[in-house]
Symmetry: C2
Subunit: 323 residues, 2 copies
């Protein structure tokens, strides 16, 4: 099977009308009047963002999920995407079908279509890139830079499950072993993060700023602080942890710090005026999503993390950097 | 220098307003009413699309040039782009500035801005991907699928200079050595292909179909044939060659076949009704671009290449495939 057969057999069936059957040089996209486009592009490299040899469905799914999470953080709904796949020479061609099935399941779940892209091959590790196009009503994108003095800082879901998931996947010890550990659940947190699209859309009316947690909770909240030119004060003891992660972390400060700097959570961190709290909680409840207040916004331009006694916790690094 | 310093120092100055200083999860793009968007995404892998170790300006330029060429083939003008860079671990950080200067020069020449993207690193070869967004007046994109019975087939510029350029760059023999060979010119054809944007824009009013030559003249004309469900009959003796390439190829059929299947020319192949020929020639003349009639469109769905005596020339392969 060559490049063109792969595209015709497995990718063309995933294309929307603007994809022109993936037979043209480019995709045609007709924007809707009254909408702004929100465009995000994330790359995943084998051995960096996903484990060696995971070429199939899981990687296809994760690629779309992490890009959808960026759209969720901006309050945008997905419309279409372009895909670039750099296959390793060594790949077994049975993987092609498996990869395409991962794309198909996410497209179906979140209702968007393939528009175009590029496939090639390499003697090195696999590299996949997706460019997702989403839309918001004009002027309604939720930015990182909008945090206001007095805002409350919130986070969706729980933090750290993906960190234990990646340890599991890479065969690293998880010590102490949590009693209520569910291996599958950790691995799912890592491979199948849930993009908070519906809730993100609701936040357009209530949040002043938002980011998704990819590099690490502290690093990404720090991006909001920097972009907004405000201080975000976060109480580490308020950061929501699943029962199993709590059992692993206990009161160990190093383990807690690992959880909030590991990244890959793909939860939303957002800031909002306190008068919106009731409405925000109601929106989260509609989609059965736990949300937790973890801090406040004050004067400054950085992030401060303290324990429950108000003692500042220092971080040598706040999250993942890629080089 | 880490990922965020690289972005802040070298990429943020290249960003347009929609790039939000490259400090957000996504780019914000406000489409203009009455325009369609044309979106293309091309990836280049070290050792496949550019020579090993060429991490700087030349690769940045070529990445944008080949994506601009896709827009040119659709009659679109560029507005902005998203960029993904996967740096090899071994890269000398002085390269960063050089790479950014390549982006800057192309942005300036063709008047478009960086909107966002992603940077990471790898133990393998460098991989770079750009997603370019262009626009055309509503309904005016030139497709591959529009070739009509009786159309003439044209090509811009000359074919094959990049093929000799890549031989040069890779240290392969160029034998016989053309008398009028200009090493710099061959290398420029390979590294710095000129996207035919202004001419492509003019073709919106005259051409029925268009493609740019990336995989190879015969392969790409074949894509038009297939997408349009027509036969493209091409006379190999009419394919325009520069003087130096003519001297190399002579009457050797194998060399001529190599030239029209090697790709990397980034010239436009288009089809148009014969009554548009005068206007098309006038538009090409305005931008000082040579264009040449190389064939006709008839019933069928494939490509037929013949010599000047009308004898069919068989091709074992018609162009580059990536795996």
């Amino acid at each position: 099977m060559d490049e063109f057969e792969f595209i015709a057999s497995y990718l063309a069936p995933l294309a929307g009308p603007g994809g022109l059957g993936l037979k043209d040089d480019a995709a045609l996209f007709k924007p809707e009047v009254g909408k702004d486009l929100v465009i995000t592009k994330d790359t995943m490299v084998e051995g960096v963002h996903f484990p060696h040899g995971h070429y199939g469905k899981r990687t296809a799914e994760k690629l779309l999920r992490v890009n959808l999470s960026d759209l969720a953080a901006k309050g945008a709904m997905p419309i279409g995407y372009l895909l670039s796949i750099v296959w390793p020479h060594s790949v077994d061609q049975n993987v092609f079908k498996d990869f395409a099935s991962g794309l198909a399941s996410i497209q179906k779940a979140y209702r968007f279509k393939l528009l175009g892209g590029d496939t090639t091959s390499t003697r090195g590790p696999m590299v996949v890139t997706a460019t997702l196009i989403g839309e918001v009503p004009e002027g309604k994108m939720v930015k990182r830079s909008g945090a206001q003095l007095g805002d409350e800082v919130w986070v969706s879901g729980t933090i750290g499950d993906a960190h234990l998931g990646v340890r599991q996947v890479l065969g690293k010890p998880i010590d102490p072993k949590p009693k209520s550990a569910n291996v599958k659940k950790f691995e799912d947190a890592y491979f199948r993060p849930e993009p908070r699209l519906t809730f993100g859309q609701a936040l357009r009316d209530y949040a002043n700023s938002c980011v998704d947690v990819s590099d690490g909770l502290i690093a990404d909240a720090g991006h909001v602080a920097q972009a907004s030119n405000k201080k975000l004060e976060i109480d580490l003891s308020n950061v929501p942890l699943s029962k199993a992660v709590q059992e692993w972390a206990g009161q160990d400060v190093d383990r807690l710090k690992a959880l909030v700097t590991a990244g890959d959570d793909y939860e939303l961190v957002f800031t909002a005026a306190s008068e919106n709290a009731t409405n925000i909680l109601a929106e989260a409840d509609k989609v059965n999503l736990q949300i937790t207040k973890i801090g406040t916004v004050s004067k400054g331009s950085s992030i401060h993390v303290s324990d429950k006694n108000g003692k500042i916790i220092e971080f040598e690094h706040t999250g993942h950097k890629h080089f």
